[in-house]
């Protein structure tokens, strides 16, 4: 420790350019996700492990999907939906819940970083992790004999809509509940949506409840992706619309109810 030379602390206030703030905050968000063991488990290890298991071990029978390639065709879209949910919803909700509890968001609110740039950085970090997830899931899927069809653009539209819907839900949950409550609720919802979301087995298994369940965000995303990638049927209006409605409602509610501390 040494003394401060005169003038060394003289005020020179001013905000950095927005682009510099965005890149610094995005880098920090990414570091935090990739350093967090539970987040990596949730967003990478579980989806990839589940994909390998579901394709190789036929304990779930899928109508008309006989053989490893056909099973991969069915399960890859569902696991992609699971990956988007894990990162945009569960991971983000838990992170935001604890950031509020630890006073991080309050602290950032006292810096020149605008809230829009903070949310922008969180979104960019989510998209970057999703890109990594998609690349790894597709690589593993292809290795397992996956034979994708359909348009990349339509897949992109669905993933973006799904990310918006899940981010809205994640911010709503993490922005209103305490850290530990968020952790419990986000994990529970992750599990429920995994089971009811057409990831582990087709929604037809639920019989008469299928039309209703298919409107859940995970189900809409997995069905939409499956229609494009497996059936080559193009973008389903019903699924896209369901995701859009979830996105509008959840982002609207989050922007009203979100508490920064």
């Amino acid at each position: 420790m040494s003394t401060w030379s005169p003038g060394s602390l003289a005020p020179r206030p001013g905000a950095a350019p927005l682009r510099r703030m965005l890149s610094a905050q995005t880098t920090a968000e990414l570091k935090l996700v990739l350093r967090n063991g539970e987040q990596v488990l949730l967003s990478l290890v579980i989806p990839l492990g589940l994909l390998v298991l579901l394709v190789l071990v036929p304990f779930v029978s899928v109508d008309g999907a006989v053989g490893r390639g056909a099973r991969a065709d069915f399960f890859v879209p569902g696991v992609l939906a699971l990956a988007v949910m894990s990162t945009a919803f569960t991971g983000q909700a838990i992170a935001v819940g604890f950031e509020r509890q630890y006073g991080v968001l309050k602290r950032l609110g006292a810096t020149p970083l605008p809230r829009t740039v903070l949310l922008g950085a969180k979104t960019l970090a989510v998209l970057a992790v999703e890109l990594l997830q998609v690349l790894l899931i597709c690589a593993v899927g292809l290795a397992l004999g996956w034979d994708p069809r359909g348009s990349v653009l339509q897949v992109l539209v669905l993933v973006v809509l799904g990310t918006a819907a899940f981010s809205g839900l994640g911010l709503l949950l993490g922005g209103t509940l305490r850290g530990l409550t968020t952790l419990a609720a986000a994990n529970l919802l992750w599990f429920v949506l995994l089971v009811l979301g057409g990831v582990l087995f087709p929604l037809s298994a639920f019989g008469g409840a299928e039309p209703l369940l298919s409107l859940l965000p995970t189900a809409a995303l997995s069905t939409g992706l499956r229609d494009v990638l497996d059936a080559g049927a193009g973008l389903g209006a019903r699924e896209a619309l369901a995701l859009l409605v979830w996105a509008v409602i959840s982002l609207g509610a989050a922007s009203r109810l979100f508490r920064w501390e």
Binding site: M1, A16, Y102
Partner: protein
């Protein structure tokens, strides 16, 4: 007249019908240090958080550098050290400081700041593994790294060891010297006495006294003069030589106590009287009031309950 760095007038805030801040006013002059002094629960943090824009006031006006506290342009001009927390547990100490530094146009050098606050050795330690005192110092660094004009420090030395406290004090003194305005809250008398130009003593959400440290410890003060001399000296004679309103007593035997406005005349009267009695007054000492005494007088309570 220059704009006050902070102007609070008639501030009120209640939680669940209970007034936490009750008509509080204060002025922080530019380039000075103001200590908001009071016991826990006096409303210090609520006041500061309203000034920082984190809470809204129920009534009263607050002007920070002449602007409403919620004004977004203030974020680059004001540094904030909240009372607890405020960092990503998963980021390293230096990473957190660099992140916040990157939000400002001309920040201080983060490595230099870490070094001066004694945090170089833990620069690569994650925030969650820092000790409480280290987290406090990082929080202080985060408040000043953007080179603000005005700094809010909420209990900056709570829980710090003496060396860290000294480093914090040196930083506050250097900020003041370089023209930064500082509002700090504390329940430590010596901290207020050492750092502050002005002290505002608050209790139960109200200002009970305000002024410089010298003013507060002087005004209305009854000073005490103690000395030792031969037992049984004639106190009646002393009292006639002292200004009206002074008291004198011997207790225990040979220990004398004179209470009154302690000034050179009083001292001269006492020594002349003892000389007249053929006695030598020894161990002569003047006891001045501390802010602690002031607080006790004003509120009837100890500062640290």
């Amino acid at each position: 007249m220059t704009t006050a760095a902070l102007e609070v007038d008639g501030l009120r805030k209640a939680y669940a019908g209970r007034a936490v801040v009750d008509g509080l006013s204060l002025t922080l002059r530019p380039g000075t240090v103001l200590a908001l002094l009071g016991p826990n629960g006096a409303g210090k943090t609520t006041t500061v958080e309203i000034c920082e824009g984190f809470r809204t006031a129920d009534a009263g006006t607050v002007r920070v550098l002449g602007l409403p506290p919620a004004e977004s342009s203030l974020r680059a001009r004001v540094g904030v050290m909240p009372q607890a927390g405020g960092a990503y547990p998963g980021l390293r100490c230096a990473e957190m400081l660099r992140l916040v530094a990157s939000f400002s146009a001309s920040p201080l050098d983060p490595d230099d700041l870490l070094e001066r606050l004694g945090l170089s050795e833990v620069a690569r330690t994650s925030y969650r593994r820092l000790s409480g005192g280290q987290q406090q110092r990082l929080s202080l660094a985060l408040a000043v790294v953007g080179r603000p004009e005005l700094v809010f420090l909420d209990e900056p030395t709570a829980g710090l060891d003496p060396a860290a406290r000294r480093a914090t004090w040196e930083l506050v003194e250097a900020l003041r010297r370089d023209g930064v305005s500082v509002l700090l809250t504390t329940h430590l008398m010596d901290e207020a006495e050492r750092l502050a130009d002005d002290v505002v003593i608050v209790d139960a959400g109200r200002v009970v006294a305000t002024g410089t440290v010298a003013e507060l410890t002087r005004t209305g003060a009854v000073g005490q003069l103690r000395f030792r001399a031969t037992p049984g000296l004639d106190l009646e004679q002393l009292l006639t030589a002292l200004p009206v309103g002074c008291t004198a007593k011997e207790s225990p035997s040979g220990d004398y106590l004179v209470e009154g406005v302690v000034d050179p005349q009083l001292l001269a009267a006492v020594t002349a009287w003892s000389a007249g009695q053929g006695a030598l007054a020894t161990d002569l000492r003047v006891e001045t009031r501390t802010l602690e005494d002031v607080f006790l007088d004003l509120t009837g309570r100890e500062l640290r309950a």
